[in-house]
Symmetry: C2
């Protein structure tokens, strides 16, 4: 269960916050916005009904169980950030360093190579055994140069270092028909999972892109989907009070008009540090648009910032509280832990003269920071989640994806394309051809 | 050697960029600014002459060599970010997962616990052996609650799980005289290293705060200091062309006046991903200030963004090129590698019909992105460094610290305090006392 508390928007001065009336003013437009969203024919919520894919993944996971010690995802942007977040949020904080004998389940270690820095690509070799490694190559278009270059590099490695065929070491996630990766899959008889055509990279965490690697490291993907479905119902509610995605979107939109051009996502949980990275792409790429739906130049956009409580109190809070008042801070508060022992972890009484828990200190600092920012007229809202598990993470993914869908309609832009990266891609091709 | 290329500021339209005349206009003020900086009596450059401390660290490192398998730093903000950066930049990409036998030198593994999330604190236990662990507790004031609570927690663990005395497992880095940690050090006879009083946390990476953990994991701290000293000469040059820190500061300042309120630091190197985090604190806390030197409310501040090339081309570039034109992008380009094999790492010709290196693809994408942003009138500058090693990293640290010193004087603010975090701290104390 997720709830949203936006009362601090009312507490700060009208110039920097929003009254309840302002927040609710346009909510009779929800049905119309939902219609517009449906016309976009985007698949990020439709996929939640795709039981076939979840079954196919489960079957594959069962088939390869115990075969691999390492899984290496080759992918970048939307092909990487969701997977990184799933691992960070739902597994042990030091998952890949656990000895198999100890706390670790017998699942493979997962690595996501989302850059082409040669040092990164070269050094992974020092910690994996090629003979026991499965590479998951993820590119929706099947043409992403960063990912394809990695594929060809590791393909040669496997050919020289493994006695098995290529298709024992590679799985592809790509478009059903198009692209170079699909061709290679056909030639080499490589198992391939599909990304639906109408789901963009940054909306793809609950497709095979995120679900396959998650399932292979022991994450319950059924529950992820279940959580997302719970939120999906709220997404399609015409009622302001129920429609959490709309609430967030309208707040972001209205505050943007009041000069809050930056949105900070600051979870008070080490486990959600990569969730903020995932959201950073979603907000930046979806809403940062030169043209509106009528083709007029508007240079829309909200600049996302990833932050972490309590850590960034000692790095960013000074700016948030005294710098330009140009930010909306979105806090995420986690009430409890899937494993109860964490809630009970105590700070010895020698510290304060009485025993308190780390959880209590963390929550107290969060409350103090929220209060301090409110007192200095810095608009902020808090999302409360009960605990971090597959269900709530599924809810969170869909909450933010759906809020982006609303935000796109409010800004009157296409939230699903990314025309602004084409020039850089074209120039890369041109430069590479010249040399 | 580091060089700065700012010609793209001239290439973009005057509204969004700067002419050479604008950039150089105020450079006759450099001597006056340097005088003002000296009057601040800040130690971040003076410490470079402190040979005693470097010797003391070297002696300590020698004494404990081979004794510990893990080093755990307890610290937050400026007590953590520099150390995290040093490890990430100068060690293997998967340092802590290397088997001792293989690529790894026989140095301890280093962990930095910069949060009080109970899961993080609890789970470190699953990968360390308390009997073979050295905790370095870092808090300048000696009173930071996050760090002290961690200390008391692990103190109890050591007492029950190690046969040795406390002072075989703890080292403190704190103020010479003040604070609770200093008291404990005296009581428990714990080896303690000092942070000079006139060096703030975010400027402390080249004090014992960064140098001690760095030395213990095999980083050449003498060369770090050497590099910083090279940059220090440029810092005190009255000549615009030589004074790299001033060049960056004046560009940031002048563009801020033209509405570029956000600065993105985007190194094209996986090794510098945490350097951008380190800089994020430095810029945010130093320049985000409500009051100027005359006590007038100005709400100064530049919002820093950490980015990474090529990765964030697939996450943030769309916003940078089509969203609001409110950013200065500071690229870092790395020309070569300390280990030449990385420069030679090849992408098989099957990919493009000819062999190219990953380095070439990375540089080509960087050039294309710079060109694309320039063509869309997005102001950007590029810092070029030859390779990442102790020397250049030392240069980079001092370059940015010194540029912040200039920036503080240009904004007419105190760049060395952080009054805006006090309210949150006070409220935390109040709430803790209530419960």
């Amino acid at each position: 269960m997720i709830s949203l508390n936006f009362e601090n928007l009312v507490s700060v001065t009208k110039k920097h916050g929003l009254s309840l009336a302002e927040i609710k003013k346009d909510s009779e437009k929800i049905p119309k916005l939902l219609e517009q969203i449906k016309k976009r024919n985007q698949g990020f919520y439709e996929i939640l009904d795709d039981r076939e894919t979840v079954k196919k993944i489960a079957t594959f996971a069962k088939k390869i169980k115990g075969k691999y010690k390492s899984i290496v995802v080759l992918g970048i942007g939307g092909s990487a950030l969701g997977t990184i977040c799933l691992q960070q949020s739902l597994k042990h904080c030091f998952e890949n360093e656990l000895k198999n004998s100890k706390t670790r389940e017998n699942t493979p270690k997962l690595y996501v190579l989302d850059n082409i820095d040669p040092q990164l690509i070269s050094e992974i070799e020092d910690i994996i055994d090629y003979g026991k490694t499965l590479f998951i190559v993820v590119t929706k278009s099947g043409t992403t140069p960063e990912t394809l270059s990695q594929y060809f590099y590791f393909r040669d490695k496997i050919r020289t270092k493994s006695s098995h065929k290529l298709n024992a070491h590679f799985v592809f996630i790509t478009d059903r028909q198009k692209g170079r990766l699909r061709q290679i899959a056909n030639e080499e008889k490589i198992t391939t999972f599909e990304i639906p055509e109408n789901v963009g990279g940054r909306f793809s965490v609950l497709t095979t892109v995120g679900l396959l690697p998650a399932a292979l490291i022991g994450i319950n993907i059924g529950k992820l989907i279940e959580g997302a479905k719970t939120m999906c119902k709220k997404f399609f509610s015409k009622n302001f009070t129920e429609n959490l995605p709309y609430q967030i979107a309208t707040i972001q939109y209205l505050l943007n008009k009041k000069g809050k051009t930056i949105n900070v996502l600051m979870p008070y949980s080490q486990k959600l540090i990569r969730f903020a990275d995932w959201y950073r792409q979603l907000l930046a790429e979806s809403i940062g648009k030169k043209l509106n739906n009528k083709g007029k130049e508007i240079f829309a956009g909200i600049t996302p910032i990833n932050a972490l409580g309590v850590t960034d109190q000692h790095s960013q809070l000074q700016l948030y509280s005294e710098g330009p008042n140009d930010k909306l801070i979105i806090f995420i508060e986690v009430g409890a832990y899937a494993n109860k022992k964490f809630a009970k972890l105590e700070i010895p009484s020698a510290f304060m003269g009485k025993k308190i828990t780390f959880h209590h200190l963390l929550q107290t600092e969060k409350n103090a920071t929220v209060q301090a920012l409110t007192q200095t007229n810095r608009p902020n809202i808090t999302l409360k989640i009960n605990q971090i598990d597959e269900n709530t993470l599924g809810e969170l993914f869909l909450l933010f994806e759906a809020s982006i869908a609303f935000l796109g309609e409010l800004f009157d832009i296409n939230a699903y394309d990314q025309p602004g990266v084409e020039l850089s891609k074209t120039l890369t091709k041109k430069y590479l051809a010249q040399n």
